[in-house]
Symmetry: D2
Subunit: 361 residues, 4 copies
Amino acid sequence: MASSFGERLRVSIYGESHGNGIGALIEGLPAGERIDTDTLMRFMERRQGGRNALSTARKEPDIPEFVSGVFEGRTTGFPVCIRIANTNTRSGDYNNLVLKPRPSHADYPAYVKWNGAADMRGGGHFSGRLTAPLCAAGGIAKQILSRHNIFAGAHLSSIGTVHDEVFPMLPEPSLFDAVAEKAFPVISDVQGERMQQEILAARQEGDSVGGTIECMILGLPAGLGDPMFDGIENRLARVLFGIPAVKALEFGDGFALSEMRGSQANDPYTVRDGKIITKTNRNGGILGGISTGMPLRFRVGIKPTPSISREQETVSLPDGEPTTIEIKGRHDPCIAQRAVPVIEAAAALCVLDLLLSDTEL
Amino acid sequence: MASSFGERLRVSIYGESHGNGIGALIEGLPAGERIDTDTLMRFMERRQGGRNALSTARKEPDIPEFVSGVFEGRTTGFPVCIRIANTNTRSGDYNNLVLKPRPSHADYPAYVKWNGAADMRGGGHFSGRLTAPLCAAGGIAKQILSRHNIFAGAHLSSIGTVHDEVFPMLPEPSLFDAVAEKAFPVISDVQGERMQQEILAARQEGDSVGGTIECMILGLPAGLGDPMFDGIENRLARVLFGIPAVKALEFGDGFALSEMRGSQANDPYTVRDGKIITKTNRNGGILGGISTGMPLRFRVGIKPTPSISREQETVSLPDGEPTTIEIKGRHDPCIAQRAVPVIEAAAALCVLDLLLSDTEL
Amino acid sequence: MASSFGERLRVSIYGESHGNGIGALIEGLPAGERIDTDTLMRFMERRQGGRNALSTARKEPDIPEFVSGVFEGRTTGFPVCIRIANTNTRSGDYNNLVLKPRPSHADYPAYVKWNGAADMRGGGHFSGRLTAPLCAAGGIAKQILSRHNIFAGAHLSSIGTVHDEVFPMLPEPSLFDAVAEKAFPVISDVQGERMQQEILAARQEGDSVGGTIECMILGLPAGLGDPMFDGIENRLARVLFGIPAVKALEFGDGFALSEMRGSQANDPYTVRDGKIITKTNRNGGILGGISTGMPLRFRVGIKPTPSISREQETVSLPDGEPTTIEIKGRHDPCIAQRAVPVIEAAAALCVLDLLLSDTEL
Amino acid sequence: MASSFGERLRVSIYGESHGNGIGALIEGLPAGERIDTDTLMRFMERRQGGRNALSTARKEPDIPEFVSGVFEGRTTGFPVCIRIANTNTRSGDYNNLVLKPRPSHADYPAYVKWNGAADMRGGGHFSGRLTAPLCAAGGIAKQILSRHNIFAGAHLSSIGTVHDEVFPMLPEPSLFDAVAEKAFPVISDVQGERMQQEILAARQEGDSVGGTIECMILGLPAGLGDPMFDGIENRLARVLFGIPAVKALEFGDGFALSEMRGSQANDPYTVRDGKIITKTNRNGGILGGISTGMPLRFRVGIKPTPSISREQETVSLPDGEPTTIEIKGRHDPCIAQRAVPVIEAAAALCVLDLLLSDTEL
């Protein structure tokens, strides 16, 4: 149903960029789990703009209010409704866009789908702002997972054609922490510096730029996931493509596998410390949709922010007269760096649902 | 639930490679739709092996029996159960594999998940053979869609590092027919010849090779799909990653978008013949998960067949002693060319479900 | 998923009796539908206590705030989040109950299920108060349905052993309006007076009493509903048993049919004004789960309020020592009369979902 | 999706009365469970006709073939496809019915819904014959549950106005076995004899008669089920109303509760053998949708077989001319006694799904 996902842990996202509020409804969270508010706020701040010249000028505190399902700092087992206020909306900036669909935004298909009834100010329900409640939900999932020694971490693996290092095959969770603490979430700060130059160059030209994010999940036992259409890949894919601007996804070596021979692509088994492992992890810890016990690994491709200040060709609605548009208002020259915790959040929610859906009598 | 997908059109796949039979249960097909058996058989033959030196020696007629839901050649509105016989199983070939997991097959995670109870002969429920009923279901969907002037077509876009041409931005449906009639489903036969050489070279070396497939859907109106987690990308992704060996997926220009500037990646609007279109289609006909009215376009990456005859390292189960394995029996040096109609089938089922799920009062 | 229902119209209820707020998330509402706030408030007031001596002393305005999905008084097509404040909580009244489960409340099974983590003050998520957001959602559904000439109406058909008249076979919608405007929602005011005496008598004895509600839906065309497990009966049943204290449900003549001969129970077909109808409607407008075009008709049985002030036997938790309990605080001697609009709300949501789920190409 | 139900254990029923076959697809069965074929056949025989003068002349062996998901007599964890042959169809008997809808059968609404495309010979997908695969699936569930000391049992509690004894509050599983072994599934054979006279009397008059069934489930721990719309009552209701002719359902004392005072209806807690129990079980082992640890108890009302040989009024389709119908062919004067194992099967599947859906980290 559109803005919801999950089997035993169901997450529904609601709200619009310029409406009364945004939030998430989380059904199926285990009961009695402590929510560390400070840790949650630090996690949510990672996706916020305004820390530097790379991001939008829109700054909002984004403090999640727990309307239900939390009592004295712990989950109760009942549905958790989270609400985040919209405090910094300046709809005037966007008013002129309503009848001139912005290229590569959802404006035009949304106009057709809902016959012009959708509240598309600031992107409406399609706005990147809706990733804030996703991070609130995912931040809680991360806390619960960490109590079971399962850790989700991500970094910005490229901006334009500039690439960060890749994660090692078997990273320590501390590497995730180290990246998370950086203002610019990369492994190599040298490469990070070059990436930031790319972003600033795009901005100076009234343009934007895309990037990729690599994510890993450590600590998952072997044997999780269901065959065919409810495998780990299927579940993650369904959620990840719900994050604005994600247009590509690969597991393990992904598209590179299609250029390999089987003898290169296959991950041989061996034993280390009494545990069956694979010597390589080109399949990203998933075979037949089921976890192998190796780290999960995937990469998403994020398109450039469609909002650019350069003049673009469009049409007027509903008559369809050719015209042009220059998008004013606040917009990021790149959103990939802000999407890093969002990817972690989505992965953590998927993995927690996977664990909760795994059944035994 | 694992081997099922779809909202108003629900497809469930059942069976094992060496069991009594395989098949599909399809719930929600519109009533009164004629099923052209000849067209369906021709479609299903496209995924069968044995037409040439590139494919497995296992040859089965794969004739779908309609156990229910079809009366006098038309759908009745009731669940359609399709059954395909397993006539050519030689389990002896695989017996030795049970306790030596084949690298990059699902053997090991399946062993852990089901405690050794799964019938993994020939890959069990994970076998590529399970794509036969998916094609039977998808072939029916294609027939229904074509009555509404909606067409799904695909071609093999690469084998190893050899690439076919790409589909034009606005192909004619006849191009899909032309590719479908070829023994090797490419646009450029010259490139197709080189691809086949790649496959034969891998085979001669007891190895295998991967590839990619490009797919398009023509004729979809603008405004279909739901926001966030039930967009067209999310729905397609969930199904496509259920096809064995698919490890990567991108919509429109996909990962290439992440290297572009917004001014390059954005698709400007214009009007042609009174219809609002985009001048380019880098977003693959989908914005915010919703169709733009332009052709849908995506590409999947398929890993090399994990079954290779070369010796590989593995462990014995359950004790985990290091050992080696040489996989005997019939296996394709490449499955990408056989996966082309499977991708079409999955796309057609998704799109038909999308149309059936689109609701108005 | 527990507190949600619906296929294309998904309603999720959240909140606890004494928490920060309660509400509903509604996904899939058609776009562009006007919400008449006055009508909605009047509908919601029908379930509120405090209008007379029959109801709880807890009086709350229960004004729904539209956090999302509504713009300038109309639905946008995006998820509608409704929030209702909890303004009148006096948790002190209930504190002593936590470790002494109240007989026939959910206290004990909830304690076991969530290991004592659930916030059960005032009944927590199980409280009858959670029917307020259900009424908010259902009130919107009623407005949309009425624009399609579909009307849901209900009356209190019995209290204890005192019975109201039954609805006529083909009522006018105005009868529903007439009942809705009464402080005590019955057809026969004479019987209503006797029912109220029953309630007051129970109250005076520190006791409570149960009742039944008859509900009808007019204007549904023939041919709606899906066979077997998604028929109209199945869909309604799933929602109706989610309303606190509902323990029985029958469609048409229900249990009375089991005492009839087929020749009495069958509804013969005839034609009136060119329309195929049945001469009787003992099957309640549903055959094989599918609507016949006759009015839908069902009846629910509601148990007496479990909260009574008389001393009752219970045990202490977690040790299980026998003890007694006298329930103080505000509680209704009967909730059946307040449940009448709740039943209408649930029915309206089910029927709207049914209409939205009905698919054609 | 119509003919499917279940969350982690998903059961889909397919087939038509006079089609190629009927069956069930079961997804999510635990792996490694032995299926005792003899026990399963004995269970399925309980719903078959032809054992005496009370039932239809249609006699079919109804032997379930396991097409998939079972290997060497045990479940594999993969989807289990069951197929049952239709061997005894005589469509000629029913041909004349197609354009004269039989009163209180699904013929007319099905005609409208599917525009005449549905294969309604013998009732099509609505036929009571479709309960055979439900029994096959439920019989497997019963075997698995019994390994966990959970037992589902039912008896015919009334025919017309003749009533059997009720189950004791805490029955032994052996009572279920004793009833199951009887040709006429009642507790009191004296009452059973009178019930059979009722059925025969109806038959002699070319008529039919209805009945009720009481069902209990023993051994369920406290704390199972989800609040609001996924409670045990909701889950059972959704499945039970999918069984043909079921028109009423009550849990515990059901409708009788609505005539009681709270002081009568409430179940006081006490302790026996160190276990918290209730002294009465008027709520049927369920409070707030969650199990209390007491036996589950419910009762369904089954309408008289709509097929009677007496002349009935109907209309011709599609023109709607008034006419009459006399239903020839084989039909039972009562189906309630044959529905007893079907109710057990449905309950067992629901309860097994409930156990599999109960999640803990």
